[in-house]
């Protein structure tokens, strides 16, 4: 089972919401759509679900052109960020609703619903109504409906965003197992880079209605093709600075210069470097050798990690390091950069060299 998008676009009132997009989603692993709110994740899902009209392009499922097929006939499931269950029906009837509509025999419905309910631990709640369930149970009901239906494609649109932290972790661990071996293409939209990394599979980085990059998750995390892709796939935000390259030397403002062997093939000139916050540390190490001077703006301690926002000539940078590190807000503090982790982008944003570890 595959879903193939062929240069699909979405235009609303003269404005292009989704620019020509071509992607192929495979079964067997999670396909993650990663991007900020407003990047077009939900729009893309709605196009694939047939809920919104496509301005141009085609959508194929298993080689069959479904562009003109109504939502009802596409055989898909969709789980929203907010919990959509029919309020007047019991959990059982909610899970059974697509099966009933399909005219399935009662005994088979019973079996499928109970199987899905067992997987999602909803067995004791089957006769309750949605308003008698907790948020996590409501979302599990919506997931159970998607599983029981055994559709060709399952779209999960930030399904964990409205759940509290613990439930989110728990369900996120379960999700890949739930859909493993079911043969459906799973498309999962999220705004959290960490979630994309945890769910693995392949990821499409979305930005402003564009797909910035698409490929195996780990690969595009390590080797972003554009500065935009690097920015989308980094939380806290990736650090960016202007540099000038002369021979094998990179010069960053007045503050730092270092030799970079792996970038020596690129022509001399102005570039941008990007480096993820955990490659910038408050103490030197064998890897973190390039010293930067910054003024500490904000500090955050989160258990075992310390982060500091500090002012650099072009922009504010973030350092994320293990251990508890006492910063004084306002003080000038040295930070140490790992030059091998720097990615070099041309001024138009295309990657020139590098790739974080």
């Amino acid at each position: 089972m595959t879903i193939t998008l062929n240069k699909i676009t979405k235009v609303v009132a003269g404005q292009t919401h989704i620019k020509p997009t071509s992607l192929t989603f495979q079964t067997g692993h999670f396909n993650v759509l990663l991007g900020e709110t407003g990047a077009g994740k939900t729009s893309l899902i709605k196009l694939m679900a047939g809920l919104d009209p496509i301005a141009a392009g085609t959508i194929e499922m298993d080689g069959q052109d479904v562009t003109k097929l109504s939502t009802q006939k596409r055989n898909i499931s969709l789980v929203h960020q907010f919990f959509v269950n029919y309020p007047h029906m019991t959990v059982f009837d909610n899970i059974a609703s697509p099966l009933k509509v399909a005219g399935m025999a009662k005994s088979e419905i019973q079996g499928r619903v109970e199987e899905a309910a067992d997987i999602l631990q909803l067995r004791p709640m089957l006769h309750r109504r949605p308003h008698e369930l907790s948020g996590g149970q409501q979302q599990r009901t919506a997931l159970a409906r998607a599983i029981a239906k055994e559709s060709r494609a399952v779209f999960l649109d930030e399904p964990l965003a409205n759940l509290d932290y613990k439930l989110r972790e728990e369900l996120r661990e379960q999700l890949p197992e739930l859909f493993a071996g079911r043969g459906a293409v799973v498309v999962y939209a999220t705004s959290e880079p960490e979630e994309a990394l945890l769910l693995g599979g392949s990821t499409a980085l979305m930005d402003d209605g564009n797909v910035a990059q698409f490929g195996p998750t780990a690969e595009i995390y390590r080797k972003p093709q554009t500065l935009t892709a690097a920015k989308v796939f980094s939380d806290p935000p990736i650090n960016v600075a202007k540099v000038t390259k002369m021979g094998s030397t990179l010069i960053m403002g007045n503050s730092a210069r270092w030799d970079s062997a792996k970038m020596k093939d690129a022509p001399d000139g102005d570039y941008q470097i990007a480096v993820r916050p955990h490659h910038v540390t408050p103490k030197p190490s064998p890897a973190n050798t390039v010293k930067l001077n910054g003024r500490v703006l904000v500090t955050e301690l989160s258990g075992s990690e310390s982060s500091a926002h500090f002012a650099m000539p072009d922009a504010d940078w973030v350092s994320l390091s293990h251990g508890v590190h006492p910063y004084q807000v306002g003080e000038d503090h040295p930070f140490y950069l790992d030059p091998s982790a720097c990615m070099l982008f041309a001024e138009d944003g295309q990657v020139v060299a590098g790739g974080a570890v």
């Binding site: 679900a49 047939g50 809920l51 109504s70 939502t71 009802q72 006939k73 055989n75 898909i76 499931s77 969709l78 929203h80 907010f82 959509v84 029919y86 309020p87 007047h88 029906m89 609703s97 697509p98 509509v101 399909a102 109504r129 409906r145 239906k149």
Partner: protein
């Protein structure tokens, strides 16, 4: 330590007074009349349940009650489904929404006796738009002052015109409160438009429909003004509904006792049927 005082009664008092003056005292007056006989001069004699016995055995009452039940049944059977269909057909967004809403609300804004007068003139065979059209242009014999069937058709049509809007507006309010997500979920489930109606729209409209049915039942069961103006209960007794009969007895003949007894029975029937409707339609809600 719990201190007790009787202050709470003062808070209840205003409501008690209000209910007393607008319901209890008038009601007790009627009860009082219903068990007495009078020959005028404010002299009353105890008559027990005599008036009730007479009334329940009276053919005139049976006939009026029969006409009333038939009328209300027809009204509910037409106005409720028609109201739902119109509400479903109305646009949910765009510039036509206020236009439709105002058009729908118009008939309800007209005073009831004016509605009666309007339809009376509308149906006059010689000068009324409808009457003239039917008789002269189409050649169909139509005169509601002569033909009981024509009178019924006219009154039912008038009531449908006058009150279907209420059902429409209530249902429409129920429909627009359904979030888009439910329609999307239904589409994804593969639901046909009938399933969407049956499993999403109808359940969402259930509460407003309960109100609509109750209001339309009570109103049509108590209909008086329009019919009084249009036919006065005629031709013959063919459109003499309970309320019209009641007024004839109470004010035409000034039989206070029988009229009071009839009022109470009338009231009891309306109350009982309303309670039945309400109980039946809300019995699943507590689960």
């Amino acid at each position: 330590m719990k201190t007790q005082n009787q202050k709470a009664w003062f808070f209840v008092l205003p409501v008690l007074l209000l209910v007393a003056f607008n319901a209890l005292i008038p009601m007790m007056t009627v009860v009082n009349y219903s068990v007495q006989e009078t020959f005028g001069n404010n002299v009353f004699f105890w008559h027990g349940v005599g008036w009730f016995e007479d009334l329940l055995n009276s053919e005139r009452f049976h006939a009026a009650l029969g006409r009333q039940i038939l009328f209300t049944t027809i009204i509910l059977l037409i106005e409720i489904p028609l109201g739902i269909v119109i509400a479903l057909a109305m646009p949910r967004k765009g510039i036509w929404v206020p236009v439709c809403l105002v058009l729908m609300a118009l008939p309800m804004l007209i005073p009831w006796n004016v509605v009666g007068a309007m339809w009376n003139i509308f149906t006059l065979p010689d000068i009324g738009l409808l009457g003239y059209l039917m008789n002269t242009t189409l050649g169909i014999d139509y005169d509601m002052t002569q033909d009981p069937f024509a009178a019924w058709v006219t009154i039912v049509t008038m009531d449908v015109w006058h009150w279907t809007s209420l059902v429409v507006l209530l249902c429409y309010a129920g429909l627009v409160s359904i979030p888009d997500a439910y329609y999307q979920a239904a589409k994804i489930d593969g639901a046909s438009s009938w399933s969407v109606f049956r499993y999403i729209q109808l359940p969402k409209m259930k509460q407003v429909l309960t109100i609509a049915i109750l209001l339309r039942f009570m109103d049509s069961f108590n209909i008086y003004t329009e019919v009084f103006v249009m036919t006065g209960g005629g031709p013959g007794n063919s459109t003499t509904f309970l309320s019209i009969d009641l007024v004839k007895i109470a004010l035409g003949q000034f039989d206070l006792g029988p009229a009071a007894a009839m009022s109470l029975i009338y009231f009891a029937i309306t109350l009982l049927v309303s309670w039945l409707f309400y109980t039946l339609m809300t019995k699943d809600d507590g689960k």
